[in-house]
């Protein structure tokens, strides 16, 4: 979930070009061949904006479909970030489409009341309304205190409804889709959308269902945190790179899309076995402690690019973790130890209290197996604590990382305020952004 755009630009640029081409596609169809009689500058401009806005909204489901190859060059978090802001842009295009017609051509778009308006105009108006609700309920989900899982289901339902109504609106109006070959192209475009939605909602859950896992161990860790161990059932499991993550479904069918993202915390060298280290934070994570060995689980992964395996030439690594942000970094350390990696490593690990320092004992153990230095930073240190104290500020990081080695690669995982302040501190000291990698435990 990180990799800067810069270090994979040639690859990423092609996906960006493909995306823009897909958005532009309906407009290019409009421009080709015989066109219906012009309806005036404002009228035709508004029509084209409507098509462009719908193309953006339709493609939203492709962005979040988690296609591994397409998301890898960017990182999943940035894809979600893009999903969020392009939705605002697409919504503005659709609003502009409506406002130009409402203001300039009120007679043509007819009455507002669904009782007297033609059905396809009502379909268009409902779609506009739904798009508005989608954008507002997503940007301000937390302000409206919408619970994540419920929000997510409604988000999917409303999005599909809004796109279907928009397509009905276009078919009903019918000005631009009349020519048979245009109808065919438009139909193919719609089919692409149906395929992606079908893949995400049916084909992928089906594939997951056929590769189940069983919980083999549930272990209490320090600080209201649990480690689950899963083993594949009837298949060989998945390989992953240390630091990657997967979407995990527990006590729920993959069709219900009730999954949550978690980093692998175990060693990637330990084939087959998957470990997740999960902190009790909300409705779902609070139930982890009640999971019993033998329960079923489904794992959609691996995803993400937050991994030292993408930097085989780095002379050394610095890991900076806060709290449960240690999970992916633990996977990296365990993997490097199992591989006998000789490179120098530095871990800076911020926590509130000494008692809650996750994996404390095992980190001591890893120190013997790796060229690893560790600096613990505590917010509420016990009396006579010899180490660093406070938050991971510029000053604390200067003490924890006295020398900035050129070429070393930095992995940062923790709460947003922490990663922001670490990024600022490292930038001040001249570490290029292309060598700092982040994992945020929140999808934009």
């Amino acid at each position: 979930m990180n990799a800067t755009l810069a270090d994979r630009r040639p690859h990423g640029a092609r996906w960006i070009a493909l995306y823009i081409a897909l958005v532009a596609f309906p407009l290019v169809i409009l421009l080709l061949g015989e066109m219906p009689k012009g309806g005036g500058y404002g009228w035709d401009f508004a029509m084209a904006l409507g098509f462009g806005g719908l193309a953006i909204m339709g493609l939203q489901s492709i962005l979040t479909a988690r296609f591994r190859r397409a998301t890898a060059p960017f990182g999943m978090d940035i894809i979600y970030y893009f999903h969020r802001w392009i939705a605002v842009g697409g919504f503005f295009l659709i609003v502009a489409h409506y406002v130009i017609l409402r203001v300039g051509y009120a007679g043509a778009i007819g009455p507002l009341s669904p009782l007297t308006a033609p059905w396809h105009m009502t379909a268009g108006r409902i779609a506009l309304l739904l798009f508005g609700v989608l954008v507002v309920s997503s940007l301000w989900r937390k302000v409206f205190r919408l619970e994540y899982d419920g929000w997510r289901i409604w988000h999917a339902i409303m999005a599909v409804a809004a796109v279907v109504l928009s397509i009905a609106h276009i078919q009903g109006v019918g000005h631009y889709t009349q020519a048979p070959w245009k109808g065919t192209l438009w139909g193919a475009y719609t089919a692409l959308w149906v395929l992606v939605v079908g893949y995400v909602r049916l084909a992928r859950p089906w594939a997951l269902l056929r590769r189940p896992y069983r919980v083999s161990d549930v272990r209490k860790e320090r600080g209201r945190t649990w480690t689950l161990t899963l083993r594949p059932e009837g298949h060989t499991g998945i390989g992953f790179q240390p630091g990657q993550f997967a979407w995990l479904s527990l006590r729920s069918s993959p069709f219900r899309a009730n999954e949550h993202p978690f980093s692998f915390s175990g060693s990637a060298a330990d084939a087959g076995t998957l470990r997740f280290t999960i902190k009790e934070l909300g409705d779902f994570t609070r139930t982890i402690g009640t999971v019993k060995p033998g329960e079923r689980a489904y794992v959609d992964g691996p995803h993400g690019t937050f991994t030292p395996d993408r930097h085989p030439d780095a002379p050394g690594f610095v890991f900076i973790a806060g709290g449960v942000g240690m999970a992916p970094i633990m996977s990296m350390l365990r993997t490097l130890a199992d591989r006998g990696d000789p490179r120098p490593l530095l871990l800076v690990f911020g926590n509130r209290q000494w008692e809650n320092v996750l994996f404390r004992e095992e980190i001591d153990d890893l120190r013997r197996r790796l060229q690893l230095e560790v600096a613990y930073v505590l917010e509420e240190p016990p009396p006579e604590w010899p180490g660093l104290r406070g938050l991971l500020t510029d000053e604390v990081l200067r003490a924890a990382i006295p020398n900035i080695d050129p070429g070393w690669v930095y992995f940062v995982c923790g709460p947003k305020p922490m990663t922001d302040s670490v990024q600022r501190a490292l930038r001040h000291r001249g570490v290029p952004l292309s060598r700092i990698h982040f994992e945020l435990f929140e999808m934009a």
Binding site: T4, L5, I16, Y19, I20, V23, A24, L27, V28, L30, L31, M35, P36, K37, G38, G39, G40, Y41, G42, W43, D44, F45, M47, A48, L49, G52, G53, A55, I56, F74, G75, I78, Y81, F82, W85, I86, G89, G90, F92, L93, Y105, G107, A108, I109, G110, P111, P118, M121, G174, H175, Q178, L433
Partner: protein
């Protein structure tokens, strides 16, 4: 940093859509060539209507109200009011009463030329009371190109 690039790509995408839309609108509305009729100016044909009114005023008002009640303006415009794609500003000059009725109700030659979806919609007007249709056609025939 990555956020900034993502935002830039957002802007770029929206920019491409707006640019293509502007292109579409301008390709579509090229300035008329020498012998093509000029599009009616807003309000211009209203004057023409007044000057060439031949039908009884009562009929005219009734025709207008039928036109409004049937929402012809969702596809047509008169004097710039309504859907600009199919202006009716000068139909009275080039169609006689019979043709006006055929085009209004999607029958005769109109049935072959118009797309099927539109024919279906227009044929519904056949069930209007005869005097409403008469009034509508009378109104349409007053719509003449202004000199």
């Amino acid at each position: 940093m990555r956020e900034r690039i993502a935002r830039a790509i957002c802007m770029l995408t929206i920019g491409v859509v707006v640019a293509l839309s502007l292109l579409f609108a301008s390709v579509h509305n090229e300035p008329p060539t020498e012998n093509a009729p000029l599009p009616p100016e807003k309000g211009a044909s209203v004057a023409g209507v007044a000057a060439s009114a031949v039908a009884a005023p009562v009929d005219l008002a009734k025709g207008k109200s039928v036109y409004a009640a049937q929402k012809c303006s969702s596809c047509h415009s008169i004097a710039g009011d309504g859907n600009p794609r199919y202006p009716l500003d000068s139909v009275g000059s080039h169609l006689n009463r019979e043709d006006l009725l055929a085009w209004t109700t999607g029958t005769g030659a109109a049935a072959d030329i118009l797309p099927p979806g539109i024919v279906r919609r227009k044929q519904r007007y056949r069930s209007l009371p005869q005097d409403n249709l008469d009034a509508l056609v009378s109104y349409l025939s007053t719509l003449k190109a202004s000199k």
